[in-house]
């Protein structure tokens, strides 16, 4: 347990878990594009060298090889930075993998502003792009338990899956494994998800940890809040989400480590519009902007993605000003961004 927060911090949860998980699944192969250790599969490569394939810095071809392997009955798990799975090789992703609905798993690291690598490394539009691809399933991890359990969720899907993956030091927030297309109900305003709430907050990925820092203070200040954590972004048909959205009295707030266009906020807007839910929607996320190279904590503050941004949005939604300062929030978890723990940060 961290003395900072009381939250357990797990270092590199993917490394050993993926090795254990793959042991009895000979159909699993891994393809990497020169970012093997950066994507925490260096030990996997050394454990299963006969089913690890280095493809070099050539993502278009890597996606094609993955398609061919999938057609022969293998299940390729591609490990590279998220931006290199959908920006550079988008036509290959669409035509070679998504159209034929092949069982290829695209494990995308460095979602959103989780990297100091700057604009070239920050996948801020990946969900928007992936949501527009037929046959694609989109999963996002928000803690160490989800980094571990996303493997089973993806493995069970008969088609391509894109995973927003976390690496390095990851908090363990949830005791239960990720379930496909099932929101986690983290708090409810009344006795059940259907009971009226001042605010319904939906968060995904690292934004859930930010929300968990702010919501106790908001609740103490008298706001009733129902909070859902979303890990399946496509499909987005969980009836729990609709029930929760219908319960919102004053506002719905979404928080995502992504542009507010095309991601969680847009998906929620679509569900609300299609179901005639007229509650105002406040979307926290990057607003029509690229980001730049800096620490995650700095970028969360700079782009209004942090816990305090939820406090401000809640105040706006409820027409009041909360007397909550940053010091009133649950402490920030300080990740050792530039220490030896992140030597492969780029």
């Amino acid at each position: 347990m961290s003395e900072h927060t009381g939250v357990e911090i797990v270092t590199r949860p993917h490394v050993e878990n993926f090795i254990r998980w793959s042991a009895d699944k000979p159909e699993i192969v891994v393809l990497s594009a020169d970012l093997t250790n950066s994507c925490e599969v260096g030990k996997w490569r050394d454990t299963y060298p006969e089913r690890f394939f280095s493809m070099g810095m050539a993502e278009q071809n890597m996606l094609g090889f993955a398609a061919g392997l999938a057609r022969e009955g293998f299940e390729p798990w591609l490990h590279t930075f998220a931006v290199f799975l959908y920006r550079r090789p988008l036509d290959q992703l669409q035509m070679s993998i998504a159209y034929p609905n092949l069982k290829v798993r695209l494990v995308g690291f460095l979602p959103g502003i989780t990297t100091p690598g700057g604009v070239t490394h920050q996948a801020i539009d990946d969900i928007a792009v992936m949501r527009s691809i037929p046959n694609m399933t989109i999963l996002e991890t928000g803690d160490a338990t989800e980094v571990e359990s996303v493997l089973d969720v993806a493995h069970a899907i008969d088609g391509p899956v894109y995973i927003r993956m976390l690496r390095g030091e990851v908090p363990r927030l949830f005791p239960e494994p990720m379930q496909f297309n099932t929101a986690r109900v983290l708090s409810v305003a009344g006795d059940s998800i259907a009971d009226p709430a001042d605010l319904v907050v939906l968060t995904s990925g690292i934004e859930t940890e930010e929300a968990l820092r702010a919501i106790p203070a908001l609740t103490d200040a008298g706001a009733s809040i129902t909070h859902l954590h979303i890990s399946t972004l496509k499909p987005f048909t969980d009836p729990t989400v609709l029930t929760a959205l219908r319960s919102a009295r004053s506002g719905v707030i979404t928080m995502e480590n992504h542009l507010i266009t095309g991601g969680l906020g847009s998906a929620v807007a679509e569900v609300m519009a299609e179901n005639g839910i007229g509650t105002p929607l406040h979307r926290i996320g990057l607003k029509d902007t690229y980001a730049h190279g800096a620490s995650q904590a700095y970028l969360l503050r700079e782009y209004d993605l942090d816990a305090m941004s939820l406090v401000r949005s809640a105040g706006k939604a409820l027409g009041r000003t909360f007397a909550i300062d940053a010091v009133d929030l649950a402490p920030v978890r300080v990740a050792a961004t530039h220490s030896s723990a992140k030597v492969e940060a780029l």
Binding site: V29, R51, F53, M55, G56, A58, Q60, N61, M62, L63, G64, F65, A66, A67, G68, L69, A70, R71, E72, G73, F74, D91, Q92, M95, S96, Y99, P100, N101, P134, N135, D158, G159
Partner: protein, 284 residues
């Protein structure tokens, strides 16, 4: 067989006032060499009828493969992956000449609800992959060959390519990976007709010296007369221990002389769906 391929494509183009004719002129011998002598394929139960189009692949719609026209797959049998899907009409003609496709299939060509599409996709006869976006098939074929090696299969994976695809960067990414993994079961035959949509390749973006480039990448290369079936067959069968490329230099007006004479630019016919006129071309 090559003459039969040309005749069927010409008749179809005349009857439909246009179509991909020059592809038949250039590649008839390539496909004849593959289907008639090189490829080890299981037989089909006579000429098969093309299925009607049912659905795109998805959660409730399994993939439909045009590979069924190549017979059942087997560990020691060959595969043929067609890369330039714009050659579909020629592939259909070759399958008919091979006794694998009902000759009435061409009546369904480019008709609504048909799998006999103008630019073939993986449900179209003879196609395993969807490669109308050019230069993606070689990578997929590399993955297929790698998967077959992992399963200890001995059959070869042939890829039919067009020369324009060597302008795409992905092709060279694929070649470096084929060489890196020593995938010598991959045999690529390239229709080097030196023509592309905008005109002669040398006026659009030259790819030569292609053989030199391929050898520098570590592949084995033969340059042959693409209308010499014996030379094509010998090269396609040659064991080299490397990914093997057969550069078949061809004439995109071969066998239909009027296409050659009728163009403003000498020696090369329009590549992209020449339209018919009131004049009747000289017959083969």
């Amino acid at each position: 067989m090559a003459t039969g391929i040309r005749r069927r494509v010409l008749a179809h183009v005349l009857a439909n006032n246009g179509g991909y004719l020059s592809q038949a002129c250039s590649s008839a011998e390539l496909l004849a060499a593959l289907y008639a002598s090189v490829l080890k394929l299981a037989p089909t139960e006579g000429p098969l009828h093309p299925p009607t189009f049912e659905a795109v692949p998805g959660p409730d719609a399994p993939r439909v493969s045009g590979g069924v026209f190549h017979g059942e797959v087997g560990p020691d049998l060959d595969r043929l992956i067609i890369s330039p899907a714009h050659y579909a009409l020629v592939v259909y003609a070759a399958l008919i000449e091979s006794g694998r496709l009902d000759e009435a299939a061409l009546d369904q060509f480019n008709k609504d609800g048909s799998t006999v599409e103008m630019i073939g996709a993986e449900h179209s006869p003879g196609f395993e992959t969807t490669t109308g976006s050019l230069a993606q098939a070689l990578s997929t074929a590399g993955g297929i060959a790698l998967g077959r090696r992992l399963k200890n299969e001995t059959g070869r994976t042939f890829v039919f390519m067009s020369d324009g695809e060597f302008q795409e960067g992905q092709t060279w990414e694929a070649i470096q990976a084929l060489v890196f993994y020593r995938l010598d079961t991959v045999r690529v035959v390239v229709d080097v007709n030196r023509a592309q949509c905008d005109g002669p390749m040398d006026s659009v973006m030259t790819i030569e010296p292609l053989a030199t480039k391929l050898k520098a990448f570590g592949a084995s290369v033969d340059s042959v007369d693409g209308h010499d079936i014996a030379a094509l067959t010998a090269s396609l069968e040659r064991q080299t221990g490397k990914p093997h490329f057969v550069l078949a230099y061809t004439d995109p007006a071969r066998g239909v002389p009027l296409t050659q004479r009728s163009q403003a630019r000498p020696a090369l016919p329009a590549l992209h769906r020449p339209r018919g006129t009131s004049r009747i071309p000289e017959v083969l």
